[in-house]
Subunit: 358 residues, 2 copies
Amino acid sequence: MDGRLDDEVVRVGGDARQRYYDASGYGRPLEGNEIELAPVEAAHLLFRGDLDAVDGMGFREFFAHATDAVDRFGVRYLVYADLRSRGFYLSPSRADWVPAPRRDDDFVVYERGQGPPDGDVAYRVRVVGEREMVSAAAIAAARTDSGDAALAVVDEESEITYLDLGHPDLDGSTSVGLPDGVPAAVLDDRVICWEPPVSLYEQGFFGRPLSGREATEGDPLQLSLVEAAYLAARGAIDLQEGSITVRDRGRAVEGERFDRRLAAYTELRDRGVVPKTGFKFGADFRTYADVESVDSLGHSELLVRVLPADHAFAPRDLALDVRLANGVRKTMVFALVGDDDSAGDGDIEWLSVTRLTP
Amino acid sequence: MDGRLDDEVVRVGGDARQRYYDASGYGRPLEGNEIELAPVEAAHLLFRGDLDAVDGMGFREFFAHATDAVDRFGVRYLVYADLRSRGFYLSPSRADWVPAPRRDDDFVVYERGQGPPDGDVAYRVRVVGEREMVSAAAIAAARTDSGDAALAVVDEESEITYLDLGHPDLDGSTSVGLPDGVPAAVLDDRVICWEPPVSLYEQGFFGRPLSGREATEGDPLQLSLVEAAYLAARGAIDLQEGSITVRDRGRAVEGERFDRRLAAYTELRDRGVVPKTGFKFGADFRTYADVESVDSLGHSELLVRVLPADHAFAPRDLALDVRLANGVRKTMVFALVGDDDSAGDGDIEWLSVTRLTP
């Protein structure tokens, strides 16, 4: 059977509706038995030999034609074919093809065994090539209430990585009674409490004893600048008069990043979650939702990377973070902090990204 | 016992030589029984209570003084104390303190049970704070023939990550007979061979069948731009006349990075090692040293990130790469490619970085 191009959609007549749409979920029905196929659908049918030609073009010629004529045809075809090979029916997310299509989605993927027009949606997929930058705001906006938003990244060798875009669970149960005005000193890019109350470390999990592995009770406690800035803002520590403020020191060594990190740190603490450095995982923080004592710490649940709200991801960096988090059984979370947020005036956008195997 | 400051070194008399140097490897002997201590050593003895005061200063006062007066005192003290707590003796890497000190090293760490003046060296350690950028060239230069070079990174919470700096094993046994002039076409940012010889994928592990998981013999083969540029330079594939060259397309989509990646790819292939995309690991390549057939692929051994020779690492990025590689049982390798190298005229510097637990 042959199709014909009509403004970069392929129309097929004859028994096309029964053969392609009803039986296999390809295309969109028009009048009578005619259907129209998106270019990726037509290419897939040509490749399978289920369609003979489009305007006289076989698979190769049509593929080359569509690569030139249709935006991101190559990567979209690869994802379409991959999801088909995994047993899914899927439709291009176009007006009049699926209910309530969204602008940046490429495909609506139906639950296994279901298809258009009224199948349940398993995933709403956006496709990108590994060389395209993806704005963090766009990823955050792509999330749905039903949690079915996914990003499909096609790498240079045409392998596909699927990522699930979601809302992280940031509720913790840690409750810490802060002390009042504990003397502390800024020393270079750290802060030291020479005589800390035991609870600050033991229950609050603030800082690290100066003697580290050999710590004994009453040891001096080192605080990171972000921990110290949080505690100083609450009056829990008292820095020597005349010394530079912790926040100024933080800005001096990290610039605006310090304000963003402090905003994320503060919101996590306010939610009962304890953030500690994520350095060993290449992140800003790892987090513990339920700390009662440092002697009975559980596994940390999240890795948090703090980014400016206008950040754009290189997909490779995203793949790196998500892969690492998966390997250490944590969830990768991005805190997108706007200019207002870092002054403490706005909401931080929290975005989780996890591996997805369709 | 008390010490006195003399140009930011601490001199101690009495029985100091026997007590600190001979018994515990602190300091450097002067005339008679006098020794001199580096500030980190004096601070450590003060903290332990083995030294009473330096110019009247106890631990706290001396620590604060040294933080102001001595370059990177805080992070160096933390590493010194950590290695001591792990049971090592170590000496500041200073002229006249250790044999053949090197400029950028901070400490010479002796094998367990050994110490100055003639203990065997376990590690030569350079200390950095997590906020300091570290030039890739400096890391490459720090490596020794005996493989004992290490980087100690102190994070914002004063936890320490030790990294071993080495020379990776890049010898492979893969031998591929390349075809001659196989027709291929550039399609967007990939290349397709419509009728590839089976050996190109099956033995050479070039490309990926267009139909991916459902591939059958004779399927079209997609090549990445870097694979195609390598094959085109050897006459193995023949791109349609008049089409843009693969290398130009690569530069158009990746800039100079494409040339660097092609240089690294080429050297690996020339050494019998097969590079494939490392995208899922956030790297440029993963590599297989001994490919006989794609049906019997072993575990890939290396993750390669290609960087310009003048790259400077944020220690956090380094920690991320090394942690991920460790988690997937691969070795992280950086290919440092200079401007001459990417034209194929020079040597690429290959640097391995692995986790170290002293």
